[in-house]
């Protein structure tokens, strides 16, 4: 049995095989793997007894369910209006500089992926970004370098 089969098996055991458990199961795979491989989606389809197209169709609807390989740490910079007004572009440049990648890319060591997202619900402390589930607000260029430094040393 492969790692993915085992992971899906554990998730199915925890949540059951009803269709309404599909999102929690997909989220469980994302939590461990950071993205959904075709193999993982086919395995989920098999174990839930639905078609792989259904799993794929559902997963690709959600912006946090990546089907491309992602790094261990996914950075999502808010690009919506208030963060845009408060200097999101400089924050993005600082991140590209610190990580030596462009928006949408993953570092060669697979440690970071840099993405944009819509309003994170922290507009009063803009600009804001998420790294995995962790929120960072009131960002400045210095703060970005500090934060990335901390993650690099983790």
């Amino acid at each position: 049995m492969t790692d993915i089969q085992q992971l899906v098996g554990e998730l199915v055991k925890k949540h059951g095989t009803k269709r309404e458990k599909l999102l929690p199961i997909l989220q469980g795979v994302i939590e461990k793997e950071r993205s959904l491989s075709d193999y993982a989606m086919i395995e989920i389809a098999k174990q839930l007894g639905i078609s792989a197209a259904d799993v794929y169709g559902t997963a690709t609807f959600y912006s946090f369910m990546d089907t491309e390989p992602r790094g261990e740490n996914i950075i999502r910079v808010c690009k919506t209006i208030t963060c845009f007004m408060k200097g999101k572009n400089q924050i993005l440049l600082a991140l590209e500089d610190a990580l030596k990648i462009k928006l949408g890319e993953t570092t060669p060591d697979k440690k970071f992926t840099l993405l944009e997202t819509n309003c994170l619900g922290w507009c009063h402390k803009a600009p804001a970004m998420l790294i995995n589930d962790e929120i960072y607000t009131d960002l400045t260029i210095e703060r970005v370098h500090e934060i990335i430094g901390e993650y690099k040393n983790k």
Partner: protein, 393 residues
């Protein structure tokens, strides 16, 4: 700023932790009695649409089915809104209480909090609170149970029928209405879905009686409301204020003395230019004189350094990305509006093209399947009409 025109209200975040006592008192009262309090309070949904909460609960209580559900909508994705996160951080027990009382009234045994994926960091704390709350319910002989359901980054899932599709393990595509969730909601069962803040207000109403709530606000817009204030303001944050306030008073309190426009209600809301601050009131339609704007509480201020073209472009990019793509008016309309204003700005299209785009947004309002596509015209027409020159030059 700082003129303190508006009274600050302190009900939602008031530090009260007597959940045991309140719940045991509520559970001794009849369902009719409780619904009458809710209707009497004048509470309307705080998620944006403003449906009377008491009526929603009453309709669902009358629906005949063995299985029913209560859902707390914590998808909070409207740009400029961040109050629900703060409620769930500071006073989650009030929301849980609102859900349990709703469950008792409508006859549901199960409640869900649909929490946006961006708020995953709240889960450990919220789950602890839910465990504590379940222990209280058990003592009181109630078997109502609450569970968190996580979203995965989709604004449209805040729309109630799309949220339910998502909970059923599907793409979050809005359903046709009717039937409404009060009849056929989650898994086809009668369901009450309320915004986080609506449920927290229910606590205040059940604890203090409907009068305390009703005495706040004006005419059809009763009670207090949380406002998420952001943009060009020296005091961005969350404020509880009375409904019915004038936008001028709001700007006097929160603006930076250079406010040229306020976007009321997020990207889906309306942009009000300075010359209309005085005649605009914040509340639900009905009896308020002048323009009255309902809102989920998002208030974004823009000063004279901002280009309203950039603001509109940012909103349209948002809608284009977040449209579920299910219906043509919205899928194609959002793209065309965005491409259209860019072409006018670049001088590739004549400025009269803006009129064509305005008509397109009106068509979307009439023909789009859900509130997302229908509301794009709000910001589009209010920005294009009031800041036309900024769109062109």
């Amino acid at each position: 700023m700082g003129k303190n025109m508006l009274k600050r209200i302190d009900l939602i975040f008031k530090n009260e932790h007597d959940t045991d006592e309140i719940l045991s008192k509520i559970f001794k009262r009849s369902n009719d009695d409780l619904i009458n309090d809710l209707i009497g309070s004048g509470l309307k949904g705080r998620g944006g649409a403003g449906f009377p909460t008491g009526l929603k609960w009453k309709l669902t209580s009358e629906a005949k089915d063995d299985e029913k559900y209560v859902i707390c909508n914590a998808d909070e994705g409207e740009p400029g809104t961040f109050k629900d996160r703060e409620i769930l951080t500071q006073v989650p027990h009030k929301v849980l209480t609102g859900m349990a009382v709703c469950g008792r009234i409508i006859g549901a045994k199960k409640g869900f909090i649909y929490l946006r994926g961006e708020y995953n960091f709240l889960k450990p704390h919220l789950n602890e609170e839910i465990d504590k709350f379940h222990a209280i319910l058990k003592k009181l002989g109630s078997d109502f149970r609450i569970e968190i359901f996580s979203g995965s980054g989709a604004y449209i899932c805040g729309e109630e029928s799309s949220l339910m599709e998502s909970m059923e393990g599907k793409r979050g595509e809005p359903r046709n209405k009717p039937p409404f969730p009060t009849e056929k909601g989650y898994l086809g069962k009668p369901t009450v879905i309320n915004n986080v803040e609506t449920l927290a207000h229910a606590w205040t109403i059940f604890k203090y009686g409907p009068k305390k709530f009703r005495d706040l606000g004006v005419q059809d817009s009763r009670g207090s409301k949380l406002f998420s204030v952001s943009g060009d303001t020296p005091i961005a944050g969350i404020y509880e204020l009375e409904l019915g306030m004038s936008l001028q008073d709001f700007v006097d309190d929160f603006g930076d003395d250079d406010c040229k426009a306020v976007q009321v209600g997020g990207a889906a809301g309306f942009c009000v230019p300075r010359k209309k601050f005085r005649e605009t009131a914040i509340g639900y339609q009905g009896k308020l004189t002048g323009i009255s704007l309902p809102t989920g509480g998002s208030m974004m201020l823009f000063n004279s350094s901002r280009s309203m073209y950039n603001v509109l472009k940012n909103y349209l990019e948002f809608f284009e990305e977040e449209s579920c793509g299910q219906c043509t008016p919205c899928r194609v309309g959002c793209q065309q509006l965005l491409e259209g204003i860019e072409a006018v700005k670049r001088g590739e299209k004549h400025q009269h093209y803006l009129n064509k785009l305005l008509r397109l947004s009106e068509t979307m309002k009439m023909t789009a399947k859900c509130g997302l596509g229908q509301s794009v015209a709000n910001s589009f027409s209010s920005i294009v009409e009031n800041f036309r020159e900024e769109m062109i030059y």
